[in-house]
């Protein structure tokens, strides 16, 4: 299984990696439990900065597509196929859309919603101490 990135593409490099790995999981080219190259190896093979590949791996781990097991390396997550079908941007749009609609129905103006959204985004994340 090969990944190909285009540094002249408008899509960010880490995004290209994330999408191709997700597509490979969906196409069955990457099976659950299959080992992936280390960040340094993939970055070296693609002549990219380690941070670019690390960012892609971090996003993939967040989305439950891959799993890092310490020194043993990085593997395709057991639920990668299920998780790779989740369209996160669409999910965010849907959830926020519902919330905005509810606020508008309650009589809030768009300006008030924006201010409230800004305040909510300032709140600490769950488990995070500010």
């Amino acid at each position: 299984m090969q990944v190909t990135i285009d540094i002249e593409s408008e899509e960010p490099l880490f995004g290209q990696l994330v999408n191709q790995i997700k597509q490979a999981v969906q196409a069955g080219q990457l099976a659950p439990g299959q080992a992936l190259p280390s960040i340094r190896q993939l970055a070296s093979d693609l002549s990219l900065n380690n941070k670019t590949v690390a960012k892609a791996y971090k996003l993939l781990e967040r989305d439950g597509i891959i799993r890092t097991k310490g020194y043993r390396g990085t593997f395709v997550h057991a639920d990668a196929l299920k998780n790779s079908t989740v369209d996160l941007p669409a999910l965010i749009n849907a959830k926020l859309g519902e919330a905005v609609s509810a606020c508008r129905e309650a009589g809030a103006t768009d300006s008030e919603i924006r201010i409230a959204f800004g305040e909510v985004m300032q709140l600490p994340k769950q488990g995070e101490i500010k």
């Binding site: 990135i5 080992a35 993939l42 070296s44 002549s47």
Partner: protein
């Protein structure tokens, strides 16, 4: 048995081994290397394969002058010096010292023989550095699988290297006596050889398996290069341990007179399973040079 060996046989062994060292390291290997360089220059010229001639490697591929000529001439001179030394030893009636120490001639000459290899090393370093600096291919591909040690070397060879090292440590300790007080030089020997082996292991794990030094290199050629590097280091480790066991045994059982022969064989084995094996595992006519054309997609 060895102590009863006639001096003539020991001398013959020494002269044959040393002559083979001269011819192998300063005639055969340089000729093989020069054939390879000339093949590349003739079949893949700079005009069509510009990415191959990055950095300071251009002088290596120049037919007249440059690093190629320096490499060829220095090997030629070193071979002549070696043969002259061999004749001088024969004429002066040289005999290896029964208590050892005569291997110094073999080692000193080998260091001289290694100098032209440094020229190649510098050129390769400049070439790869230049390649990485100039690399601007828009499309880049990589295999989405980790490179693991046993993909490149059979487990039996790694086990053999470990067993050989532990065997040397055990024999070294046994030879000194487990109860006898160890001196600083004993600790130094043990630490040095252990550090060399640890260095090999770190190089394999952190560099050979991970880094792709030539950004243009085709995936299959890169796999071959990694295999050649890993195998040569594993074999070198085994050969080094076997050699150390042999020299320790020579000291213990009183056949130090063979130290120069054993040292020469060891140094030649390092070249045979190091540089020579790396050349053999990557035949130049089997490498993909299309990747060095302008605009070729990198793998």
């Amino acid at each position: 048995m060895i102590e009863n060996m006639p001096t003539g046989v020991i001398l013959a062994l020494f002269y044959i081994t040393f002559a083979v060292q001269i011819l192998f390291a300063s005639v055969y290997l340089p000729a093989k290397t020069l054939r390879r360089i000339d093949y590349v220059r003739e079949h893949f010229p700079k005009e069509d394969y510009p990415n191959l001639y990055a950095g300071g490697s251009g002088s290596l591929f120049t037919k007249v002058g440059g690093a190629r000529a320096l490499y060829r001439r220095s090997n030629y001179i070193i071979a002549i010096i070696g043969l002259a030394l061999l004749v001088a030893m024969y004429v002066s009636g040289f005999q290896p010292h029964p208590m050892g120490g005569s291997e110094i001639y073999v080692v000193a000459y080998f260091i001289l023989q290694s100098l032209p290899i440094i020229i190649l090393g510098v050129c390769e370093y400049q070439q790869l550095k230049g390649m990485r600096a100039a690399f601007s291919n828009a499309k880049r591909s990589a295999n989405l699988a980790p490179r693991r040690l046993f993909d490149f070397v059979a487990p039996v060879w790694v086990v053999l290297a470990v067993v050989a090292f532990l065997g040397w440590v055990a024999f070294f300790a046994y030879d000194l006596g487990f109860d006898a007080p160890w001196r600083a030089n004993h600790y130094f020997s043990l630490a040095t050889i252990t550090a060399v082996n640890v260095g090999y292991a770190i190089y394999i794990a952190k560099v050979a398996l991970v880094k792709k030094h030539d950004p243009y290199k085709a995936a299959k050629d890169h796999q071959k290069q990694v295999a050649a590097t890993v195998q040569s280091l594993v074999f070198s480790s085994t050969i080094m341990s076997v050699f150390l066991i042999m020299t320790t045994a020579a000291d213990r059982f009183g056949f130090e007179i063979l130290d120069p022969v054993m040292t020469s064989i060891f140094l030649q084995a390092c070249l045979l399973f190091g540089y020579n094996m790396m050349l053999n595992m990557q035949p130049v006519d089997d490498l993909d040079f299309e990747v060095y054309k302008n605009g070729a997609a990198a793998e």
